[in-house]
Symmetry: D2
Subunit: 315 residues, 4 copies
């Protein structure tokens, strides 16, 4: 089990009466328990939390009058991962995809997979299907795209990232999703926090990563490679960033960089480990089978010792 | 009430084992009752119907072996419309949009509303918000875009249609949806059959049209203008065509044009009228208040007599 | 006649050995005489001026070593305009276009006129051909596009400007050129200095404007409307900005904003007037008939008095 | 020396009075002599040949009235190649590029090299500059893009070909040119006839190929690989296809496939050989040093014997 202590601070200067839709609160599921949280918003506008979608995204909606708007959110979140050996995980034939997974094979706003079918076929069609092929896609994206703050915009899509070869975590995620879908592998975007990222990339920030549906559940991938996968918290889940922006604002507003803090709290005696890099496949899919904790924790501690030394560990 | 008798025939030559996902069966809701239907598929592959989404799309899934595949579907469908005077219908402030409607303000694969904000503002920002503004968008799209079979492809998006000024019903719908969303008006795509279309446009075919969320429900618009709105059957509903293609095929398959027949059966004594063009706003939103038929039918017959003569009737 | 006194200062910090190609010196032609000029470059790299193309562009080429690079250019330039009444200027049938003009009907990097044919036809096909139609295109671009520094990039093309509705003078010029070509009207881009621009748009800077081939020569248009046309100096001339960037740099270099000064020197007794806004068509086409100065100056002074009061003066 | 006997037949049904600009006649230069030619056009419209540009493109212009238009052209053309060992040919530093070559480093309509800089850097920046690197680009394009008639349109640019991975010779040429320019290697497009192409690709047709400026002249490359380079005739030369379409038509016209015949006439005793595939770099650059035929012919015959057996011959 992983335990995170996190806080998020958002500050705005509202110029005209404006509507906000935030998706910043971690999802509460069997594999990710929000054990404590506190939200304060100043001044004190009426707000509403609306849970929508599967997995559930927590929409925090409010209307702010001109002046300053200050939002502070704190939470303790426990993650319980499902672990699997990559070699045991296969791709799922279209005919066997669950009804609610099928839609993640189709193109979306930022992931126009219909445009990159030939590219995906050329690079990956010769590889045997399975988890290893999806990891190869992830690795290809990481090595080909340069992490460059400011090189992309809100409108930048995967096709443009494929051309420009630069972007931020969101662009990495969109391109990996697009290539997966072009091969009929369901893939979706999740948002979180960039726990463990190199400080040279800037202060702690929101993060975007990828889930691909393999075997019987959604597995985690970080195409930017900046976060160990065990550190990937789930805030929003969607087809792509068009569905899970951390803040969607209707109105005229000035903003500053989010102030985000995240710490993992290790307590190995109680089975709480710090996120680390290894080569197991991991999942926090709320729809996956609920975790059998005792077993899993033993298993986790077991390979934690063994695999920390693996030189080839991906992320 | 409107009553349709329809049949759909789809014929394929399957070259390699292929998966099919069809969305061709009309949705069954309080405003649209499928009172009888029959489906036959030859040869006799295992198939499954999966209902997914809100409003519910009926996914017909099957796997076909090489050889011919023949699908025949017939149905009787009754439509009960909600009528409203356009002048009574307002746009909904963002703050008041229901949680499950909000997502239809965001950009999607074919409707990159983030790209056309300036265009939408220039053309429509000066108009008072309300149904009339959405109808103005519809009318602008109809007059600006030329209906041209073959001028667009499966990958054509609204931004490209805005440039090329030509396309088919799907392109008209994508552009109208995009302009609505750019003004923060929720809009989505529905598929149906082009009842009443000019035979010069070709044989009866599937159709795409638009729903915009106004007042307390989704209202119907046909930006191509080829179908009277009362003739708009609901088959699939989604963000755009990426979610509701009538056939999604994974495999190598040859196909021929769909063979579609649709007839409206009038029986005025029993309150069943033929679709006609008028200026009322109409809705078949499954989430809207259920219809009070007696009243509605009287109302319908009433304005049917009055309004048939209206020279300015839009569609 | 118009007389300009101008200076241009460019400062760079060269990080790696770098090649520079500048196009900053005004062209020397019968209608635009560079009567005096001085160029200094520090430190003292070998440089070469290569005149290339028709009209001639003056390429200033040099190779700089790491360190600072400082370029100062000063000149006195006299402009002698050809004047014509708009109503007397017709569009030229394709069959009558000179061989060296024909290429300006074809699409180019930033002016993909093949993409915007339908748009151009819808907006302008119904207007009678002639100078007035080209002015209508110019006016449409000026009113539709918002001048917004930072809204476009070096890669931004006319199709993107048509979508985003914002940009700088270069984007205005590209869109106007594109729409002209889409109607088979030869159009090209010229660079100059934004004499007379509103200081609110920032310090004096390089400028881009349009020439359209009408009647028997190239006439001047300023789609951004920020400069009176009589103030349009000719530096570079090309299909679009890809051919006449004021500085093309091969290497790693830091730069600051150009420091530019331009002043018009009036001396009405000697027939030298200040640029002013009026509705005559004007040209400085080097290939046009050489000016008959005595006549022209009288004419200019004549309408200068009459037309300064015209409320409808375009630019 | 190579000798071609060729004929071109073009047939149109003109629906409205239409202007035609043809570029179908081979250029006449020191390295490519048109020793005999005959042109007939029925009915007998006035036509004009205008030679424009460097190297000179022969524009055949005419205006046709409604009815049929029939053009027949025949010619005998001798090619004298300059041969060089690839290892002796270097790339040219920007500072040393001739003034009239520099423009071929800039982006153009179909070759938006500014968009693909990162791609070019990733794939080719690590290779030593020189002819071999340009050949590596050519080979990469040939292996990556699938020759597919109908997969591209008149508006298709190199960026789109890079995404879709399919196209015809024109698309291959545009992508190779774009990648060269992104590395600051001057590259341009030439048109010719697809001598020697596999009949499975269709009847003899016009062809597009690439020239890259290396050492002291323009060298020939065929990224589609369908023609032996010695069989590359020069018809038009330009930045990209926007400048050298074989027919540009202003009007409403129906057309049929061009009827083209080309034969190489061998006469080894007189030093006239048939085109063959080998690994020498070759050029027909009119601006290159004029050929010393006696020497060259000996050299050609010499390696003709040696190199025909080379298994690695590129094209």
């Amino acid at each position: 089990m992983i335990r995170f202590d996190l806080s998020i601070g958002l500050d705005y200067t509202v110029l005209t009466p404006s509507d906000f839709v935030f998706i910043i609160q971690p999802t509460n599921t069997a594999h990710q328990r929000v054990t404590w949280e506190r939200l304060s918003i100043e001044p004190n506008p009426a707000w509403e939390e609306q849970v929508e979608g599967t997995p559930p995204n927590r929409h925090l909606r409010l209307r702010a009058e001109p002046g300053s708007l200050r939002l502070r959110y704190e939470a303790i979140v426990d993650l319980v991962h499902h672990f699997e050996l990559p070699v045991d995980i296969s791709e799922v034939p279209i005919a066997d995809l669950p009804a609610d997974v099928l839609k993640y094979v189709y193109p979306s706003r930022y992931c126009q997979s219909d445009h990159l079918v030939s590219v995906a076929m050329q690079e990956f069609a010769n590889m045997p299907p399975g988890y290893a092929r999806v990891e190869a896609i992830r690795s290809w994206v990481q090595s080909r795209i340069k992490f460059q703050v400011g090189a992309s915009q809100a409108t930048t899509s995967a096709v443009e990232t494929y051309e420009s070869c630069q972007g931020v975590c969101r662009d990495f995620a969109h391109l990996m999703i697009t290539l997966c879908r072009a091969l009929n592998i369901p893939a979706r975007l999740a948002t979180g926090i960039d726990y463990g990222a190199d400080p040279a990339l800037g202060p702690t920030d929101f993060h975007c990563y990828v889930e691909a549906y393999l075997g019987d559940r959604w597995y985690l991938f970080d195409p930017s490679g900046i976060t160990p996968r065990m550190g990937l918290l789930r805030i929003g889940t969607g087809r792509d960033a068009s569905e899970v922006a951390f803040a969607t604002i209707f109105g005229s507003v000035q903003w500053t960089m989010p102030k985000i803090r995240i710490e993992a709290q290790g307590d190995e005696l109680n089975g709480i480990v710090l996120p680390f890099r290894h080569d197991y496949a991991i999942s926090t899919d709320p729809a996956g089978s609920p975790p059998d904790e005792a077993t899993l924790m033993l298993q986790a501690q077991d390979f934690a010792i063994k695999d920390r030394a693996l030189p080839s560990a991906a992320s």
